[in-house]
Symmetry: C2
Subunit: 376 residues, 2 copies
Amino acid sequence: MKFKIQHTDVLTSARAGEMETAHGNIYTPIFMPVGTQGTVKGVHQHELREIIKAQIILGNTYHLYLRPGTDILQKAGGLHKFMNWDGPLLTDSGGYQVYSLKGMRKITDDGVKFQSHIDGSKHFFSPETVMDIQRIIGADIIMAFDECTPYPCEYAYAKNSMFMTHRWLSRCIYKFDNSDSLYDYEQSFSPIVQGSTFRDLRKESAEFIASQEQEMNAIGGLSVGEPHNDMYAMTELVCSILPKDKPRYLMGVGLPENILESIALGIDMFDCVLPSRNARHGVLYTKEGIINIKNAKWKEDLTPIDINSTAPTSRIHTKAYLRHLFKVEELLAGQIATLHNLSFFLWLVTESRQKIIEGTFYQWKNDMVKSVSQRL
Amino acid sequence: MKFKIQHTDVLTSARAGEMETAHGNIYTPIFMPVGTQGTVKGVHQHELREIIKAQIILGNTYHLYLRPGTDILQKAGGLHKFMNWDGPLLTDSGGYQVYSLKGMRKITDDGVKFQSHIDGSKHFFSPETVMDIQRIIGADIIMAFDECTPYPCEYAYAKNSMFMTHRWLSRCIYKFDNSDSLYDYEQSFSPIVQGSTFRDLRKESAEFIASQEQEMNAIGGLSVGEPHNDMYAMTELVCSILPKDKPRYLMGVGLPENILESIALGIDMFDCVLPSRNARHGVLYTKEGIINIKNAKWKEDLTPIDINSTAPTSRIHTKAYLRHLFKVEELLAGQIATLHNLSFFLWLVTESRQKIIEGTFYQWKNDMVKSVSQRL
């Protein structure tokens, strides 16, 4: 993977860059829509390309491993072909999902024994098996197997967990370096910084991850319930240590204002289920603020959902119509709302990039942070 | 509404025609996708036009009356504008839905008192109120308020019900003729033949309906559980009586083979929830037969869903992928399957029309009836 920084902001640490992957280039900063089970919920693949303008999407190793399973994914020639998405693809390591299976998983230094949330069947994820699975899924970018600590987290637990994540990282890198892509393109690997909200741990983890000299670097364990200021402080600290010339991915973040502030701190890549999940519950993000479309105030509002949206469905349909679709629980409600939110998140990062290049990011970002978080 | 028969088949009673409505022309025979609550479930309006090639869609008066309600529909300028569908639109009268509310409705000669299936609130539909509601919804074609008899049905009940439907029809016509469109286009009205599966009643009803000399005519009360041969016999009988130069609409039919056989009997218009509802349960219709995509046999089938489909999503995606989407209960499953089935039904009627014009309908229809009903 090649990464080129095209412009660095003067007033903030924001950067505009370009990543080259086997399935196309990505212009950063970028947001990755989440396609958990081989589909971004409610969105056709051609809509990802043509309407949302997604440049890269994310798949979940844990879910894909369980269903459809690695046999059929390998037979199909990887997830790109299985789901018919020929753009860049990133898979997480399953660490976060496995970690979330409270009471159904046991973490040891070897790896994680867990039971499927579907049928209770028993499975084992280790740094090695997770590399193997991600080789089969065949994403352009694959992630290290880590433990994502909760918030709040005891210092001792966070420290031990961080060291285990580092040991797992060494095994991931060894396995990755000593295996080949199963398909006719190369994959890239990203390690993950952990350390909860403790400055010394985050510093130590960032230094360890930086020393591995991988093609890109990620920050995990944030956006798990900590105050936003802690998220920003940890992100700033870690960004000051991670190499400047490699892409930086802040995992699982977040709200529009989180994305804007984190771009200012030097983050290049984001993913979050929030825009798509909240869309399915009628929460819409716009430049002017947040709309809960189920609210009675929109009942007779025959103005467009969002006249500024890059999604035609949000310009054509009215708030009253979308509210009706939600009230009668129609599938089209989630479809229109998902196109809306993901289009907005992609607009937000694309516009950030433009403002960085134009040198007007700082003021625009400050105005936008205020505006996007208002309740309409 | 103008209707022109362009070609009549020699070996069957099939016709190829053209209807002019205020929102565009319809080439018959035609199938109308059902958009119960102001949306064809899981389908964007532009997909109705561009992928499914729908020429006219159907809305349900009962559902639209309850939600979003007539106030907002009128404020929006009718259902076309509310839902952003600028093509032809037909609304049923609500008779079938109200009739289905067993134990929650009382039918008298005045009309039907019923309780909402949503909140139990009390309402009253009469020939007059239903004309008023359909004036507000503003469909291009609106239907008479009738009673749809069940199958099986006692002769005496069917006869009394038919007479009531005829009395209601006279009131509908009076109300329709003495009211105006609320919008800047004209609406057309269709009476409905009833009479269950009794030849003498169907004959009497068809003669009464024909004598009303309305712009088109519909056949109701079939496809309610009676044997297919009864459906065809009643359809043939009624078609022999209804005027040849007016469109004939067989309500609620049906399976692909029912549609083909009924076209051969002289039917021009169809609607049915079957292709869209079955799609959401993984039942796909193709030229070669019926696919239950949830079946284990498709698990590793990496061939296209249907290489002959007019829907790009059915040519691009594999059976294994669509099966996976159904197994993990993803929204995209229903979306892809609905586009598939509705595209197939529109293909079926469009191809029928072409074969009628070419003079090869009879043999093609016989071959197709065998093929489409096979289980794959």
